[in-house]
Symmetry: C2
Subunit: 356 residues, 2 copies
Amino acid sequence: MSRFFTKTLEELEPYVPGEQPQNQKYIKLNTNENPYPPSPWVKEVLTADEADKLRLYSDPTCKTLVDALSARYDLEPDQIMLGNGSDEVLAFAVRAFCDENTPLVFPDVTYGCYPIWASLNRISTKIIPLEEDFSIDPTKYYNAGGTIVLANPNAPTGMALTRDQMEGILKNNQENVVIVDEAYVDFGAESCLNLIPYYDNLVVVQTFSKSHNLAGARVGYAMAQASLIEDLNRIKFSFHPYNINRLSMLAAAASIQDVAYFRNCCEKIIRTREETAKTLKEMGLEVLPSKANFLFARTDRILGADLYKSLKARGVLVRHFGKPRTAPYVRITIGTDEEMKAFLNILGDLLRGQGA
Amino acid sequence: MSRFFTKTLEELEPYVPGEQPQNQKYIKLNTNENPYPPSPWVKEVLTADEADKLRLYSDPTCKTLVDALSARYDLEPDQIMLGNGSDEVLAFAVRAFCDENTPLVFPDVTYGCYPIWASLNRISTKIIPLEEDFSIDPTKYYNAGGTIVLANPNAPTGMALTRDQMEGILKNNQENVVIVDEAYVDFGAESCLNLIPYYDNLVVVQTFSKSHNLAGARVGYAMAQASLIEDLNRIKFSFHPYNINRLSMLAAAASIQDVAYFRNCCEKIIRTREETAKTLKEMGLEVLPSKANFLFARTDRILGADLYKSLKARGVLVRHFGKPRTAPYVRITIGTDEEMKAFLNILGDLLRGQGA
C-alpha cells in the first residue's frame, strides 16, 4: 500500500481468484469454466470486418444483446442490464441498493466477492450462517433488514433453494431488494426469472461465463422490473457507459441464440456431475448435493489443503478455500468425462497412498 | 429511480455519452474515434481457436498485455495496470486516492466523468476554473490540497500543458497524487511517462481507444511507480479481477506492437487536424489550439447547439456540451481527409445560409 492510499479502505481484502496458469498443462477443475467451447455460432460472428470496426465505440445501450436476451427470456428490453461479467452487475447492485442504513445480507459461506464489494463501498454487512449441513434456512432471511444477496445455487456448496423458498424470502422482504445470483442456475436449479412480474424487489443476475461457455468474454446481466434496471443503469452510466466491448457483445448474442447447443452442454455437464458424485461417494468421500457445475467434497483421510496440493502436484487443479467451515473441502469443477475419469484415477491413487 | 435506490446517491447525474447510432449513416465526428481501422495485426490474432478459448477465463494479471506495454514503454511489469477502458482505470484511481478528507481537484471545463466518479464515491471536489482563453494556469494547482486529475491534452478543448508545466504541478503536490489522463497525448502533446521514475505521486493513464484505433475493445492502462500500481490493483481485485476479456487483451497486445502503423495513423490525423483548423479559421471560426484528435470551435454566427443540430440534419454528427462556458462551441473529431472535406463543405453551405 502506498502512503497515498485512502485510509478509509485500509481494511479492504481483495478477492483472490483461482489460479489461471497460462503456460502449464493441468486438468483445470478450479474455476468453474465450461469444458466445452462456445457455440460454433460465436466464431462465425467474430469476422475480420468486426475486427476493423473495433475503431468504433461499442453501443453503450448494448441494444443487440439486450434484444437477444429479451427474445430468449420473454422480457422487455428495459428489464435487462448488461455488465462486464456478473461481477460488475453485482457490484453495481450493491452500490445502488445498499448504504450505511441498508446493510448487505448474505450467508457466511458464499461467493467471496459479496463482503469485498461491501467493504469497497463502505457498506455494513449482516452475515447469516448456513445450517450445519450447509443448507440455507430461508426463514432466517425473512425481514432481514437489508439488501439480500443469495447465490442460487450457492457457491462453493452447489446447494440450491427452490423457487418457492426464494419466493418466501421475496414476500417477507418487501421493503428491500433481493438479489438472486444465478451464475450456476442452468445446471439444474430453479430460476426466479418468472417471478419478476410479481416482485418489484427482485433482481436476477445471470452470466455467460458458465452455462454459455464464455468466461473469457466477460458478460453478465441483470433482469428485473424496469424501475430496478433503471437504477442499475444509473450506476453503470456513472461508472463506465461503454462497459461491454464490441466482440463480447457479438459473441454473447450469438451464444444466447443457439439454444440447442446450450441445452446439450448443460445436459452433458449435469450427467457427468452425477456420475462423478456417485464415484466420489463410492470412494468414501462426502459430497454435498450440487445443482451447479462443480462438487464440494471432503474426506476424513486428508485435509482439504493437502488434497488440493497433492492433486496439483499430480497435474489436477481444484479449488480450496481456507476459511474454517470450508477448509476440510475442495471444490471440483465438472470437466469432460475424460477429464473426470483422469481426475478420479489420480484421486484414487492418492487416497490409496494415504493408507486408505 | 425506484424506491429502493440509495438515498445517498440521489444527486448522482450519470454521464451522457455521445450518440452511437447503430443503423444510420452519418459522418461521425462526435466521439473522438480514430477514422482508421486498427492495425492489420489485430485481425490476425482473433482466430477461431481464440474464439473456442473464450470458454476459459481471461488472465486476471493480464500478463501478455502488461508485458507488451512494458516492452513498448520501457517500464517494469509492476508499473502497469490494465482497465476496462481508461474510464475504469480512472474510476479506480478516484476510489484509491480520494476520500472525505482528500477531494478530487480538476478544472471546470474537462472530461465530464471526473465529477461523476466523485459523486459515485461520495467524495468532495475542488474545481479550479480554466483561464479566460481556456488554458490551464499550472500554478493554480500548486499545493491543491487533494488528488489532482488533469486531462492532458484537456477535453473538450484539446489544449495541452507542457511536460515542464506538469512537472511543476507534481513538485508542488508531493503529499498528493497527480493523475494525468493522457487519452489524447499521442496526437502531439508531451507525455509525463518519463517522469515516472522521479515522482512517486504520478499516475499516467492512457488508452487504446484513440491513438490505437480500438475504442470498441475497451482497454486502458495506468503507468506509475509500483506502489501506486499496487494500490490500483487492490481496487481492481476488490471490484472485478477478470476486468479485461480475452479478445480485447489479444487485440491490444497486437496493436501496441505495430508501432509503425500507430505512428502513421497519428501523423495522418495530426496533418488532417492542422489543415482542418486552418480552413475553419479561414471560414471565420474561432478554433482553440488543439493537440488532440479533435477541434473545439465556435462562431458568432450560430449558437453551438444550433450548429450541432444543423450539422446533424445534414448528416454530420459533432458533439455539443451545454454548460455555460462550452455552449458556444462544438467539438469536431478529426476523421479522414475525405470526411473533413465533406464536413467543411456542409459547414460552408450552412454558414452561407446563415447570411455570412
